[in-house]
């Protein structure tokens, strides 16, 4: 299987590190080799936060250099990724918190990720809504493995919330695909 580079980015406190850990746990169930790195500020909330994943590295270099799938949950995270986006990258941005997504020939998908989390009762679940969107679009990890990964990773009282968030993420992709034929080609 070929190499895939993924970045989950936003501001500190949006759960990007946890979302990446869930994805890594899901990929482990499917026997994929990964490298996971991260960057965040020395504060528990705010500031640029990102989690980078190289799945099935072809060179052995563990950090991202050309991102295939980029999730941006806050405008603060846009600039940091500009040099890493390719023409065939897919950039998933939150429609509420990202006013100016990166310009370029790549595919940009703006979705109500945070609003969706709010609708299911907890704005902090936007990370897992995003994970559902990412997985739905990329097919990098099966929904079954991600459901198991959530059960393995998330504190018991938040499991149901996160399972719903994941499902809502997949649903956003389905809704988007039905109105945009180009997206079907991407997936």
């Amino acid at each position: 299987m070929s190499e895939t580079q993924i970045r989950l980015s936003g501001s500190g406190g949006q759960g990007l590190q946890l979302a990446a850990r869930i994805l890594v746990s899901g990929l482990a169930l499917e026997g994929r080799n990964i490298s996971l790195s991260q960057s965040y500020e020395p504060t528990s909330r705010g500031g640029l936060s990102r989690s980078d994943l190289v799945v099935g590295s072809s060179t052995g270099y563990p950090l991202v250099s050309a991102i295939d799938y980029l999730v941006i949950l806050d405008q603060i995270a846009v600039e940091n990724s500009l040099g890493l986006i390719k023409n065939d990258s897919t950039v998933i941005v939150d429609s509420e918190r990202v006013d100016s997504p990166p310009d370029g020939a790549h595919t940009t998908i703006s979705l109500a990720l945070i609003q969706t989390a709010r609708e299911i009762g907890n704005v902090r679940a936007a990370n897992v809504v995003s994970l559902g969107v990412l997985a739905g679009l990329s097919g990098i990890c099966s929904q079954k493995s991600l459901l198991q990964a959530i059960r393995d990773t998330v504190p018991a009282r938040f499991i149901d919330l996160n399972l719903e968030a994941l499902a809502r993420g997949y649903a956003l992709v389905s809704a988007e695909k039905s109105k945009d034929t180009q997206l079907t080609a991407v997936s």
């Binding site: 890594v24 746990s25 482990a28 026997g31 994929r32 080799n33 990964i34 490298s35 996971l36 790195s37 991260q38 960057s39 965040y40 500020e41 020395p42 060179t59 052995g60 270099y61 563990p62 950090l63 250099s65």
Partner: protein, 379 residues
């Protein structure tokens, strides 16, 4: 079933320490090393070991020296600011020849610097941070797997040679999670300290043995011994006699060279025929490796010299490795530290060039690729 697991570098370090037989950890948590302390606090009680969160880094260093003198394999972990505080006691461990392992997960400096950003700014501090001529071993792993292997090795070297060993990790690989198979890497055969078993009557705790490593007196075995940071004669008591001082300090300094076959550890690839040799360590070496593949694809004759044992610097092996190279590139996440050492071993015909970054971001493969193309064009 596969034993491959996704594990963070810092956690791999803690697991290796326990596998090596470490049963005493004292530390003061500091970003980006805190996961080591956190993991040790879970792992050590499970094997009847002792974990102590100390009041500061100075006390932590003192505690691991004391526990080691008591017979335990010991470790502490820190980052730059804490490493500064440990230096005085680190010198004491080197002078009194007390085995101990110090992990430094480097962050941006100077001072408290950039706590969550990577750097390689402690290369010279790891060698010369404490005062006076002293022996010390510094190891620089480049992956999660190698953090595990080199932490195991740190304990073995420390116990075998009675010397403090520093494992110098950059924030990137300390926090990196990689898929590794740790079970395959543990030989399950850690080195044990050489304990004194000679006559107690005329016991010399710092005897000039043939291998230059005197056996340690184990507490409870009945040996009368004296330990001091003052320059001491073979009997352990202070001396300022020039002849004795010269003799005992010389043994201390020759110890590592005498055991160079154990100490030296280098990974080099394609250096022999290389026009340009890249010298790198830690995450920067991973970037160099990636750049090398790209450069070789374009027909550039490039090699990589990676000193896994960074100190003592493998000077002989390095001189041989660059014998045919016109250029040596030294990328480092600092303003130029190892390059100063490398300058000492250059041939007259070799040009040494640095690639430096200290903005809290790692050096990318592309940066190294571009720099090599640039210098080859100039040369």
């Amino acid at each position: 079933m596969s034993s491959v697991q996704n594990i963070q570098g810092n956690h791999a370090c803690a697991l290796a320490a326990v596998a090596a037989g470490c049963r005493f950890y004292a530390g003061y948590p500091i970003t980006p090393s805190s996961e080591i302390a956190e993991r040790m606090s879970v792992e050590l009680p499970a094997v009847n070991g002792i974990f102590v969160q100390m009041e500061d880094e100075i006390a932590s260093m003192g505690a691991i020296i004391g526990a080691s003198m008591g017979g335990a394999k010991t470790m502490t972990a820190t980052s730059g600011p804490g490493f500064s505080l440990k230096q005085e006691n680190l010198g004491y461990a080197a002078a009194t020849e007390v085995p101990c392992v110090i992990i430094n997960v480097m962050r941006g400096g100077p001072s408290t610097g950039m706590p969550t950003r990577p750097a390689q700014g402690d290369v010279m501090q790891a060698r010369w941070g404490t005062h006076g001529d002293h022996p010390i071993i510094v190891l620089t792993p480049w992956s999660v797997q190698e953090i595990y292997q080199q932490t195991l090795r740190a304990f073995d070297l420390s116990e075998a040679l009675r010397v403090p060993v520093v494992v110098l990790i950059d924030e990137v690989i300390g926090h990196l999670v990689e898929s590794v198979d740790l079970a395959k890497m543990n030989t399950g055969n850690p080195v044990e300290r050489k304990w004194a078993d000679s006559s107690q009557e005329d016991f010399q705790p710092y005897a000039h043995t043939e291998d230059l490593v005197p056996p340690m007196p184990r507490p409870g075995d009945g040996y009368r011994t004296h330990t001091t940071g003052l320059t001491h004669a073979e009997n352990g008591f202070p001396t300022q006699d020039p002849e004795v001082a010269n003799r005992v300090i010389s043994r201390l300094l020759q110890k590592l060279e005498h055991h160079n076959d154990l100490v030296e550890c280098v990974n080099q690839s394609d250096c022999k025929d290389a026009e340009i040799v890249i010298v790198a360590y830690g995450i920067t070496a991973r970037a160099a490796q990636s750049a090398k593949q790209q450069l070789q694809g374009e027909g550039v004759k490039v090699g990589i010299f990676r000193p896994i044992t960074l100190w003592p610097f493998p000077q002989q092996t390095f001189s041989e490795a660059i014998a045919n190279a016109r250029l040596v590139l030294v990328p480092e996440m600092n303003a130029g530290q190892l390059i100063v050492e490398i300058e000492r071993y250059r041939n007259d015909s070799t040009r040494i060039i640095g690639l430096n970054r200290y903005d809290g971001e790692p050096i990318s493969p592309q940066q190294i690729f571009n720099k090599v193309k640039e210098v080859l064009q100039d040369a």
